[in-house]
Symmetry: C2
């Protein structure tokens, strides 16, 4: 060791310069180049000593004996955690984000726009999860009978988003019955969040269950008739609630993301290996693993970064993922981010992702219907 205190300010500064240079050039950086760049007036030999220390610490790595040094994952990690000087977002980019997101009509549209902007402005891949359902408000629900005992449920949330689902009911309902059920549900649940509706529905059904068992009647018809007397709940309403329960239960299938600009990744030399590229793209279309990763990012609010193997997901081994959760009315509802090679300009990407998340959150805010 050439230093009593190995990781002193100087070695950190050199590490920083090395990483910055490697990020911009993509070539292993040697001691001479580093000596020239730095204003420390050190000779290449001294730099070499420092480099040897950094290598011992696992922060840099030499591809072969006579090449320069390249940052390792730990090196990058140290860099983004404490060395990095973030560059403010370029005003051009800010304007584009602003314009793009303020024009979006509905949530799905906004998410698509955000993803496209992320990828176009960074020249990497952009990913945005669809906002969580929990927060959305039920606006209107409607039933339509299909063949057999299937019913098409259509519900509108948040003013303009339409969802639909087919449920299988226990018996065949007439159009009038369905209309009535919809009217009933609209009258009591409209305006509540989907999550609240789900809970209310469950409670209602549970209460009903208890009432039946409490009666200890052997004949269910009797119990029903007994209950029918009470004005709080009728058979029709019960059917309605049951249908609502079917409609809203575990509707997580749409838990999806929008990914754009994957093709940008094909330009990077570190991903030109066909095998890596293939497994990466397979991961993209599989979606499942990516969703898992993004879910993790949602827990932490603010910017979250996975560098190389840190994600624990083999397909991402040579990629970094910079994410930020986005929120509507102070509640985290989704994640967005940028996927690129480990060698990316973190100092620009991090603020970029951060701002995009904030703007997307603002664009999704139902209160500010007027453009931002």
């Amino acid at each position: 060791m050439s230093n009593t205190q190995v990781l002193n300010g100087r070695s950190l500064q050199l590490l920083k310069m090395l990483i910055e240079r490697y990020i911009s050039d993509g070539q292993p950086v040697g001691s001479r180049a580093l000596a020239k760049d730095s204003d420390l007036n050190l000779s290449p030999a001294t730099i070499r000593n420092v480099m040897a220390d950094l290598e011992d610490l696992g922060l840099v790595h030499s591809p072969h004996t006579s090449a320069g040094r390249v940052p390792t994952v730990s090196g990058y990690r140290l860099f983004v955690d404490s060395l990095l000087t973030v560059k403010p977002l370029e005003s051009k980019d800010l304007t584009l984000l602003h314009q793009g997101l303020s024009l979006s009509e509905d949530a799905h549209d906004a998410v698509g726009v955000a993803s496209r902007l992320l990828s176009e402005l960074t020249q990497m891949a952009g990913v945005v999860t669809l906002p969580k359902r929990e927060l959305v408000c039920l606006r209107h629900i409607e039933f339509l009978s299909l063949s057999h005992n299937r019913v098409l449920v259509i519900f509108v949330t948040n003013e303009q988003e339409v969802h639909n689902k087919i449920i299988h009911t226990s018996r065949i309902f007439s159009a009038a019955e369905l209309q009535q059920a919809a009217n009933y549900l609209n009258s009591i649940y409209s305006g509540l969040s989907l999550d609240a509706v789900r809970k209310a529905v469950l409670k209602e059904l549970q209460g009903d269950q208890e009432r039946i068992t409490n009666l200890s009647a052997t004949d269910v018809h009797l119990a029903e008739r007994a209950r029918a007397g009470k004005p709080e709940i009728s058979q029709g309403m019960l059917d309605a609630v049951k249908m609502a329960q079917l409609a809203f239960q575990q509707d997580r299938e749409k838990d999806d993301y929008v990914l754009t600009g994957e093709t940008n990744l094909m330009g990077f030399s570190e991903l030109s290996n066909m095998e890596r590229l293939k497994s990466l793209f397979e991961a993209f279309s599989q979606k499942q693993g990516v969703i898992h990763l993004l879910d993790q990012c949602m827990k932490a609010d603010g910017v979250q970064i996975f560098i190389g193997e840190e994600s624990g997901y083999r397909a991402f081994d040579h990629c970094s993922l910079v994410t930020s959760s986005y929120s509507v009315s102070d509640e985290v509802v989704g994640v967005l981010g940028v996927i690129g090679p480990t060698r990316m300009a973190y100092e620009k990407i991090i603020p970029f992702v951060d701002v995009t998340a904030k703007l997307l959150g603002a664009a999704l805010n139902p209160k500010s219907t007027t453009p931002l």
Copy 2:
């Protein structure tokens, strides 16, 4: 020329063998190999003469002077048009197609399943367009007012498919008015095809227009009052029709396709060139050009093939596209196909695509709600 009649049976047979061998090996095939394979008992020298003729005709091509021959696009074309002996579909594949498609719940689902099966069973990329709107029947329409003068239109087609669109109306309508309009439209248009509805709506509006101009009244209110007297059409109904017109006009945006298994293409050596691959994948995400191509295929019914540059679309230069339109009740409603390298096993892919198209058409047939 070694033959009075250059393209005789023998040379065609040799071309066929050459292409078959090239498809299976991927290597330029030389005269000796061809001589051994064929049961013609010809010497390599003779084969060489034939090859020279085929090269003159532009059917094969030599990468360099001392390599074997490789089929050209024209060679492939001749091969698939008249030389090919199609292999019947493997029963295993047939079963899988059958099972997969018969389980699909709605049209979108079926299209997705078809695409996945196409790609998985061929180990190439599968593409399926969503069925055309023209054929689908209007089942139910509904209006929901949003903020300002925007109205959310929800309409259900073909028993279970939900579509929605936001239209901007000339004035703000009350919920009751919207309900009334929907009732009116449902009563007269329900059961008709979207195309028919569109036409009927246009006619209605045109008739209305004529009536107004024919009156030659300077005061429009007068004209309206005059018209209101006639029982055929009231102001409310007119509003309804106008809204329907807005809702159904040029709703081509969703004219989309489902593409799966793109990553399979990364395994092929002819596409391992990063530049080609990138432009191909960009074409996939752009969609526009691919749609144009698929639209062309829709015109011809039955199997259609684009080999290499035949598509006229640069991104597809090194790919072939084998498509077939699929029909519901004898009307072509969409296209599906397989995208792979020009060097693909046409004799298996062609019947495969053909059968898949037929099965998808059957699965989409509204009459056979019961599994095939």
